[in-house]
């Protein structure tokens, strides 16, 4: 490979062959990504300048009117607020529990297998299946929570039908779904810590909690940070489960950017405005993830 940097005729010919091969190998992926990702993004921004139901051929150019509407649309910002709440709560709930479970498994070794297997179970289900399962499991009539309430002499409890409780309930269901993911994530991070560090620390007289605080946690920190970014981006894109479980309701109490976009585009057939919402969502996600990554990286450089 180093030969190519020497400007000889042979080197140049070799580099040309390499370039050609790279082009051929990358072409199919480039083709698919342009058609199904890059072009649609551009097209979405174009469609957002029209008033269009997406079905008829007649569409009316209205410039930035959809975008002006979006900036002032209280429902959109309320949905965004819900996304942010889910994002913060997901990071606060899922990652620490996932880390705790992984730590437990790390110390328990083989004896913890049954815990590992059963904790992993929620990951086997699709968001749609989880959404339906919890719709029924949390139903006021014949649901698990009402059943527990009856045990203690209480009445039916309708968590998802209650405007104040719905978002909180949804956050817990999301935590149920994704905590195993962060458990697996932290397990992967643990395997990268060499065992002789543990042995050395124990010989030096460290207790297990000291070892965790002083050695494991700092070594796991980079993974925890990227897990947080992952959770962040995921929370801002969130769609399937909420769409199935509450449809954004009751009222707009669990509305998210994605569900709001979907309803505008495919229920009310307002595809021009739907595209603007999708565009707003895209911009917000890009800006938030870029800023966070910059902040986290800057912090890493300083440390």
């Amino acid at each position: 490979m180093k030969v190519s940097t020497i400007p000889t005729a042979l080197g140049r010919r070799r580099q040309n062959a390499v370039n050609r091969a790279a082009f051929v190998f990358l072409l199919p992926v480039a083709f698919i990504m342009v058609i199904f990702i890059f072009y649609p993004i551009v097209d979405s921004f174009l469609i957002s300048t029209y008033k269009w139901n997406g079905i008829n051929a007649d569409r009316q150019f209205i410039g930035l009117a959809n975008w002006l509407k979006l900036v002032q649309d209280k429902s959109f910002w309320y949905a965004f607020r819900n996304n942010v709440i889910i994002m913060v709560m997901s990071i606060i709930i899922q990652i620490p529990i996932g880390l705790a479970e992984a730590t437990f498994l790390e110390y328990a070794g083989r004896k913890g297998t049954i815990f590992k297997v059963l904790w992993f179970i929620p990951m086997l289900m699709s968001s749609v299946a989880i959404g339906f399962l919890f719709t029924y499991a949390l139903a006021a009539n014949g649901g698990v929570i009402s059943w527990i309430s009856h045990l203690f002499g209480g009445g039916n409890i309708d968590l998802l039908g209650n405007q104040r409780m719905a978002l909180f309930t949804v956050i817990l269901v999301i935590a149920w779904q994704f905590t195993p993911f962060y458990m697996v994530y932290c397990m992967a991070a643990y395997t990268s810590i060499p065992t002789d560090i543990y042995e050395a620390a124990i010989i030096d007289g460290a207790t297990k909690s000291q070892y965790f605080k002083m050695i494991s946690l700092p070594l796991l920190m980079p993974s925890i940070k990227s897990a947080a970014i992952l959770s962040m981006v995921g929370s801002l894109k969130y769609f399937d489960l909420i769409y199935v479980m509450t449809g954004g309701g009751p009222g707009t109490s669990t509305e998210l950017m994605a569900t709001y976009m979907y309803k505008n585009s495919f229920s009310q057939f307002n595809m021009g405005y739907g595209s603007a919402i999708a565009g707003g969502m895209f911009i917000l996600i890009t800006v938030i993830s870029l800023v966070t990554m910059r902040l986290i990286n800057a912090e890493g450089d300083a440390g």
Binding site: Y39, D43, S44, L118, V144, V184, V244, S265, A278, M281
Partner: protein
């Protein structure tokens, strides 16, 4: 790791407390599952009259029979078809792209890689309307074919990312000596790199397979008729029919999760490893 020899009261209490917490987490993670399986065997009213956690009166399979007779197999076959075609394309094309990105020196290499990897953060919703329009105008709306393009496109970024890192771990000497023998890049890829990448491909197959099996957004938007829908939508369609019959819905749910559970039982380590490979993204 080994426990220390000394065990005083404090650490005993500690272990007890940790055990309780671990058990609580365990119960929370499996109760919804038990609810689902248990009730799928019950009659329509049995669940309401006898309580949700009572064992079913008999091993009543009529819900399952009803679901299977109601066209469930269609959804299942559709899911298998979409999965097989999408997965083959993802793995092959992903490996093709990862090869030059991991092992060639050429202009724009890092830029192309960064661009592909950055696509991991893109929400499907920004592409939904244009892809919907495109699918309609090409005339493949409401067909399985419509689902393959978006499935592949959205799985490629993570796949290229993982495979590129995997291929970087294959020693360069292998390639150099083959090149001395006059082997060109294309033959090298098919006869050496691709076989050596097998472990990476198999974990990636599981990760992507699970995601495609569960994909909802595009399937919901791009298909319409019962004959052309995939498994995640089976629940949706059955729910429209049997909304008030909870045990029936639980049977549908159990059947949709069954393949994953079988996979988990027979290939637990592979599955966890596959999910871990997805965990390194970010």
């Amino acid at each position: 790791m080994r426990y220390g020899k000394k065990m005083n009261l404090r650490s005993l209490l500690c272990r007890f407390f940790v055990g309780i917490l671990a058990l609580t987490a365990l119960i929370i993670s499996i109760v919804p599952f038990i609810f689902m399986v248990l009730n799928s065997f019950k009659g329509k009213f049995e669940m309401l009259t006898k309580g949700v956690f009572s064992p079913p009166a008999s091993l009543n399979l009529s819900n399952y029979q009803g679901v299977l007779a109601g066209g469930f197999v269609h959804y299942f076959i559709n899911s298998i078809l979409v999965l097989a075609v999408s997965l083959t394309l993802i793995l092959f094309l992903g490996a093709c792209a990862a090869y030059p990105l991991s092992r060639f020196h050429f202009l724009l290499n890092h830029m192309i890689y960064a661009l592909i990897v950055a696509c991991m953060a893109i929400p499907i919703h920004i592409t939904l309307i244009p892809v919907f329009q495109m699918t309609k105008s090409v005339g493949i709306y409401d067909s399985l074919l419509a689902l393959i393009g978006p499935n592949v496109a959205f799985a490629l970024p993570i796949s290229v990312f993982i495979l590129t890192n995997f291929m970087k771990g294959i020693p360069l000497e292998i390639e150099e000596s083959a090149e001395m023998d006059g082997c060109n890049k294309y033959r090298m890829f098919f006869s050496m790199i691709l076989p050596l990448t097998k472990p990476g491909l198999s974990t990636l197959a599981i990760y992507n397979g699970v995601n495609i099996w569960n994909e909802f957004g595009f399937a919901y938007t791009l298909t319409q008729s019962v004959e052309k829908r995939t498994l995640p939508l089976a629940v949706w369609d059955f729910q429209g029919q049997y909304a008030m019959n909870t045990p029936m819905i639980m049977a549908v749910l159990t059947l949709t999760v069954l393949p994953m559970i079988l996979l988990f039982i027979f290939a637990q380590d592979k599955l966890v490893k596959g999910m871990m490979s997805g965990a390194v993204k970010g």
